[in-house]
């Protein structure tokens, strides 16, 4: 099934210029795709169309093969979970439990389901200890988890995350990415908006690159990295180093680099041994 599809989507804010110039793309079920581009390229604007937060001036947006034109955001939210960049833009409740159950309640889950989903979400994110505390008073890292848990409790099929790792330490970053893989392995579709090319290389299979309101590349991550110059992206150190040292295939991860370089090293050592 095609999870997300846009056809010739054109969008501009009320004051004029087109932010999206004619975007057509397809994301299939179960994909883990990165959505990248410079600030102002339109990536967040496009992502908001997937939830119906923004509506195109022209063109259609289909979620799970259904046109969402007439649907309320709340309805699309049953299938599309959108995690915003700033967790403080949503935290408002008196207790963490209440905060996390806000979403499921709005989706009209029945009482038992609300409580079950919320508890499950709190468990998953280690927030049970904070259940009765005011989420706004918790530390930044914990607030981010509350935001994630709030969407997790709604159990959407499609996840869109806008820069979920900004300002996070390494461990929290790893945990977040592990969550995304866990969701992906359970069959969810993940769209990750990020600037961090290291994360893109290490975790995503496909990549959508946007520039000036258009999709300029939509391919396997490896292929996209290979077009660094035309697409004006800076690949992670392993890729660049691999390129400079002529390793083939070019390594997207540290592990891959180690393997490729190790092979080359072994060959060189053999040659040395033979020589001496």
């Amino acid at each position: 099934m095609t999870e997300i599809e846009t056809q010739n989507v054109r969008f501009s804010y009320s004051n004029g210029e087109d932010v999206l110039k004619s975007v057509s793309l397809r994301i299939d079920q179960g994909e883990f795709v990165a959505l990248i581009g410079q600030n102002g390229s339109g990536k967040t604007t496009l992502a908001k169309h997937f939830l119906g937060l923004l509506r195109p001036r022209e063109g259609t947006v289909m979620i799970q093969d259904e046109d969402i034109a007439g649907k309320a955001v709340g309805e699309v939210a049953r299938r599309v979970g959108y995690v915003f960049q700033n967790p403080d833009h949503q935290i408002f409740s008196a207790t963490t439990m209440h905060e996390i159950s806000y979403g499921p309640q709005n989706l009209d889950f029945d009482e038992d389901e609300v409580s079950e989903q919320s508890k499950h979400a709190m468990d998953r994110f280690d927030l049970t200890a904070y259940a009765d505390q005011q989420p706004a008073t918790l530390s930044h890292g914990v607030r981010r988890k509350v935001a994630l848990a709030s969407i997790y409790a709604m159990n959407p099929q499609i996840w869109i995350l806008d820069e979920p790792t900004g300002g996070l330490d390494w461990r929290s970053e790893q945990e977040t990415m592990a969550l995304l893989h866990e969701l992906n392995e359970a069959g969810k579709t993940i769209v990750l908006i990020t600037h961090d090319m290291r994360l893109v290389a290490e975790h995503t299979e496909r990549c959508i690159v946007m520039s000036e309101g258009r999709v300029v590349a939509h391919d396997a991550t490896r292929t996209v990295m290979g077009q660094e110059e035309t697409l004006k992206i800076t690949p992670p150190q392993t890729w660049r180093l691999g390129n400079a040292l002529n390793l083939r295939p070019l390594p997207l991860t540290v592990k891959a680099f180690c393997q490729e370089y190790g092979k080359k090293l072994a060959t060189e050592r053999e040659i040395d041994v033979r020589r001496s």
Binding site: A72, N86, H89, Q90, I91
Partner: protein
Amino acid sequence: MSVAPDFYIPGRSWPHIADPRAKLLVLALAVVLLLVFQNLWVMLAAWLLILIVHRSAKVPRDRLVFLLRALLPVTILMPLIWVIFYPAGEVIISIGFIDIHGESLAQGLTVALRIQAMTFAIFALLFTTDTDTLMQGLVRLKMPYSWGLMLSLALRYVPNFANSYSSIHQAQQARGLEYESTRGLKRVREMMPVLVPMIIGSFRSSEQMAIALEARGFGAPEVVRTYLNVICMRTSDWALVAIGILATLVLLTLNISYGFGADPIAIFP
């Protein structure tokens, strides 16, 4: 981060260059005169005069039209109220069974023009003076600097508020927020998921801003604050002040002693 809504339209005309203190004084005097005078023709003259100031400051037509449009309801309402509820003077027109009395019409029109004139006068100041300059003017008139800073910061954060409302609203929509009521207490309660993060956010921002300001020496004890672009009363500014005071005195004398402009229709009763 968005532009602070300070209405300022850059320019180098005489209203722009004039010292904000002179402008503030002239504005204050103008407001006093506008309140004192009751005559329609005098009010019309004042209204035209203020518009001339706008034109000489090269204020684009669309700004003025915007103001006129905003005041349209009041402009129509005032004469209507006066004519209907406070009939006075001779009947000048009869439409069906409604008699329009001359004096009350004049009074209504005068009130409408007065409101417009005062609005235009205030905006003449705002269009030609940027926030910093205006604040400095007030501070030099002995307003504490921290008040001026507070006002500038408040203005500067207005667009932030609008933006954060939009972001927060979207974030909550993503969790199924939908407004069902359109007004009243119920609507306010429904807006809590948007209002609360906005308020918390503004507390956080203001704390961060306060720290940043202190880290740049704000509030240094025993320091006389200086300014990079110091405002200075020039001869032309003193002239403006002098003319303003003189004109006010003359006009007030004429009004008090001779009834000039006291009657709605007759200039000199």
